[in-house]
Every structure is written in C-alpha cells, then in structure tokens.
C-alpha cells in the first residue's frame, strides 16, 4: 500500500462520479437532486458573480455570508474558550469547585443545542446575541469537560516535584497543571469548534437573517437545491479549515511533545 501521493482524493472523486452518473441516469429524484456540474456552476456564480445586478439573488453574496457565519463562530467560540478553560482548570484542580459546579454541567450537557433554540429566541430575539449564545453554549461543553479531564490527569510526581521546589498553588496551576492539560484542552477546542459550526447553522436557519445557515434555509424554500448543496460544501470546508488551524496551533504550542531523543 503506497503511503504517499494524493490517495486521499480517490474516494471523493469516485463519489463525485457516482453522484454525476446517478443524476444523469435519473436514478434519483429527477429535478430535485442537482448534478455536480450544476452545483459547481451555481457555487461559482454565488462566489464570483456580479452582486445585485444579475437575476440570481445569490450572485456574489457568498463571501459576505461566509464572513457573517465565520465571525459568529469566532466570537461564540472565543467566549466559550474564555469561560470554559479557566472554569475547567478550577473544576479539575479544586475539589470544592468540582463538587459544586461539575454536577450541574453534567446535568445541562445532554440538552441538545437545538433544544435551546426556542429559549434563545425568546430571550435574545432574532439578533446576533441569540446566535452567540447557542454557539458559545455548544462549544463550551467539550472544552470544559476536556480541560477538567486534562487537569485531573496531571502526573502526581510532577506536582510533587513542583511542591518540593517551593512552588505556590498559583505557580503550580500556571506552570505545571495548565501546560500538562494543554493537549487535552486542544482536543476540547477542536471538538468545540465543530459544535460551533453546527450551532451557527442552526441559529442562522431560524434565529437570525444572514449567514450560510440563513442561505441554506432560504435556498431550500425557493427550491434552489444547487445552492443548498453548495452551502453544505462551504460549511464543510470552513469546519475543516478551522480544525486544521487549531491543530496547526497545537503542533507549534505542543512542540515539546513531538520531539525525539537523539541521545
């Protein structure tokens, strides 16, 4: 089995061919499922078409909607990380905080982000705040749970080493517990950003009137499946991209883990 080369493209290309054949041979719902060429063409016009002057209301609006959604994901995700990482450190490190806070988190966590929608709209209305609430809440759980887990996994001998070297509690948390939990925190961030993209689409479909989620729902209503599929691809690519960015950052930050002995 060859290990190098563009082998990862093989299956997607096969699926693309299958899709094309299935549509052109009319195996599936003719007129409803668009052909890949049609999706590509619509997607292209959606991105590069002249805005406002053509017959298609989508022409040239792709970037603006991508930016709306990305900004919401970024903001919601940032808020989630800013709350979840310190909270996770506290829960993992302090028995009292753990006993008081952790059960509530575990109780709320199984409530799906979609179930929060009516509540969110009732409280925040159809404004950005509602979307940020859903995205932040969705991303919060995996980050806080993984941070807590990472803290509890800190090697006891490292803690003892820090204590016998005279480190205070604050120094131990900052210089031992936090770096030790970082690999786990990054896992949480990667899971969190995935949930954030799910949440932004849900929120935009219902709670706000812009962004990829809004386009997706709107295109469905006017029967533009080509735009729907192009939106799905767009969200997939953006989700993939955000994951690669966090992974790339983690590779740099956690450089000490990937080194190898040459002694």
């Amino acid at each position: 089995m060859p290990r190098r080369g563009p082998w990862f493209l093989l299956l997607p290309l096969l699926l693309l061919v299958l899709w094309h054949v299935a549509v052109s041979a009319q195996w599936v719902l003719p007129g409803i499922i668009p052909a890949p060429t049609q999706v590509a063409e619509s997607w292209y016009r959606w991105i590069f078409g002249p805005p406002g002057r053509s017959l298609s209301p989508y022409s040239g609006t792709w970037l603006a909607n991508v930016l709306y959604s990305s900004r919401r994901v970024l903001e919601g995700f940032a808020i989630a990380a800013a709350v979840a990482i310190p909270l996770g450190l506290f829960i993992g490190w302090n028995r009292l905080v753990s006993v008081v806070v952790d059960p509530s988190i575990q109780l709320f966590r199984p409530v799906p982000i979609t179930a929060w929608l009516p509540f969110s709209i009732a409280v925040f209305g159809i404004y950005d705040a509602g979307a940020l609430f859903l995205i932040g809440l969705g991303a919060f759980y995996p980050i806080v749970v993984n941070t807590t887990h990472g803290v509890r996994d800190t090697n006891l001998v490292l803690l003892r080493a820090a204590r016998m070297l005279g480190a205070s509690q604050a120094t131990i948390v900052r210089s031992v517990v936090f770096p030790s939990a970082l690999p786990s925190i990054f896992t949480g961030l990667r899971l969190g950003v995935g949930v954030a993209w799910t949440a932004v689409i849900v929120a935009e479909m219902i709670a706000v009137k812009s962004g990829l989620g809004y386009v997706l729902w709107d295109a469905y209503y006017v029967g533009r499946m080509d735009i729907c599929v192009a939106t799905m691809f767009s969200v997939g690519l953006l989700g993939f991209l955000s994951d690669r960015i966090i992974y790339g950052v983690s590779r740099v930050v956690l450089r000490w883990r990937t080194l190898e002995a040459h002694g």
């Binding site: 090697n155 001998v157 204590r163 016998m164 005279g166 480190a167 770096p179 002995a261």
Partner: protein, 263 residues
C-alpha cells in the same frame, strides 16, 4: 541518642494506610538518625515501605505516629530545603533543560544573575553543557536524571532525598551515574538519604546502610560503611567491599524469603 542537631531524625515513626477498610501497616517503629554530611542509604526489598519513609521526610505524607525532624524542625510539608530526586526524572516536559533547572530559583524570585552562573557550573558538573535549550524528550534516560539532579542541587538543599534515582536506567548508564554522584558528593558533601534495593549501589555510595525488613517495614540493622573516599567503581571489586556485601546479603536473605512466602 546524641542531643546535637542531627540532619534527619525519625523518632518512633509508624505509618499505616487505610484502603477499602483494609489497614496496611507500611512502617513500624522506625528510629533513624542521619548526621549532617552523611550519605545514608536505606536498603530493602520492594514494597518494604522505604519510599514511604522518604515521602515522610520529604513532607509529601504525614506519619501516623511519631516525629520526623530535619535539623530539629518538624517536617510540615514539601520544602526546597529537602529536595527530592525521584525514580522517574519528573522533569517538566514543556520546559527546556535550562528552564527545568531554573524552575526553583525562578519560583523563589531570585535574581537571574544569582543563579545563572550556578546553573552553568552545575551543567558542566553533570556533563550537560550545550544541552541547555533541549527539551527532556530529546534526552536519554541518564541525561534526564542528571538534569533532575542539577535541578535540586541548584536549590542548595540541606538534605538531598533520592528515591531509587537510577532504578529505571540500564546497567551501563547506572554505573556512569553512580560515579557521577560520587564525584558530585565529593564536591558538595550534601546530606543524602538514598533509597535503593541494590546492595552494591548502597555500599559503593553510602557512609551507612540501614537494612529494612519486608513489610511491615522496620529498620533491621544499620551498618557503617568504612570504605575510604574518594571512591570509584573499582572499589566494588575489593576484598573489604565484598566482605561488607556478604554481611548485608546475609541480613537481607531471610527478609527476601519472608517477602516471597507472604505473597
């Protein structure tokens, strides 16, 4: 017992652990005095409680009964004056060699100009000059343990506690490390409490060897090792050394048997 300030004094120390309603007697009636500048080895079979004894002196654990005194002061918790070299190097993997060694001084907020020359000299003594900016993952097992030794010596501890520090190294590296430790001791004349299950190691390094019994751990006998210093590995082939070795082996033989038959 002499009334001058011993470096380490254990007075009628007992330690038991309770786990799942079972009481485990780890140490029984330990009386032990270690003089300033003495290199004291504690020798015993695995599971005899010798690490428990060291943890009491380090302050990681409290005795169930009795007193643990270091320079006539009751041990209340971990303290840089009682530095520990663990069986695993316990280095902070996210710090370079230099940052690991300067962890203690930095924690105490000492001036860089105060500790930097000291670290430089210690790195040279342990043969790690040029490795300052390497991460622990890039070092061999022996090199890591040398960093761990430099990391505690830079704190200029009153007592150096070593818990089978060479136990996880291969036989060759072990010999190198023993010679290194002998050379370092000739230089610093630290008070050392050295835990080991290796008879030759104990006799080669120490001024006194306290032989412990199998669980529950008691001090069976304390021997004085009157071998000339400075010592080298060749000492292990001398007649005097072998005579002492026979004596110790006889002491531990029935303990080994007892430990084996009790399992």
């Amino acid at each position: 017992m002499a009334e001058h300030a011993a470096a380490v004094r254990l007075v009628d120390v007992w330690k038991e652990f309770v786990a799942r309603d079972r009481r485990l007697e780890a140490l029984q009636a330990i009386d032990l005095t270690i003089e300033p500048n003495e290199f004291a080895a504690i020798l015993g079979p695995s599971g005899c409680g010798k690490s428990t004894l060291l943890n009491l002196v380090a302050g990681f654990d409290r005795p169930s009964r009795g007193r643990v005194l270091v320079h006539d002061e009751a041990v209340a918790g971990p303290d840089p004056r009682r530095a520990v070299v663990f069986q695993e190097p316990a280095l902070f993997p996210w710090y370079t060699v230099l940052d690991n060694i300067s962890f203690g001084p930095r924690t105490r907020k000492l001036a860089r100009s105060d500790y930097e020359p000291k670290i430089e000299s210690l790195l040279e003594q342990v043969g790690l000059t040029g490795f300052e900016h390497h991460y622990p993952a890039e070092l061999s097992g022996g090199m890591r343990q040398r960093v761990a030794i430099a990391r505690v010596l830079v704190m200029e501890p009153e007592v150096l506690l070593m818990d089978e520090p060479f136990g996880s190294l291969d036989a060759q590296t072990r010999l190198v490390m023993q010679e290194l430790l002998l050379a370092m001791w000739e230089r610093h004349h630290q008070t050392v409490v050295f835990i080991t299950h290796d008879v030759e190691e104990a006799l080669l390094l120490a001024d006194s060897v306290s032989v412990m019994t199998a669980r529950p751990g008691r001090i069976k006998q304390r021997l004085s090792v009157q071998l000339p210093r400075p010592r080298t590995l060749e000492l292990t082939t001398s007649a005097l050394f072998n005579e002492l070795k026979r004596e110790v082996l006889a002491l531990i033989r029935d303990e080994r048997l007892r430990a084996a038959t009790e399992r």
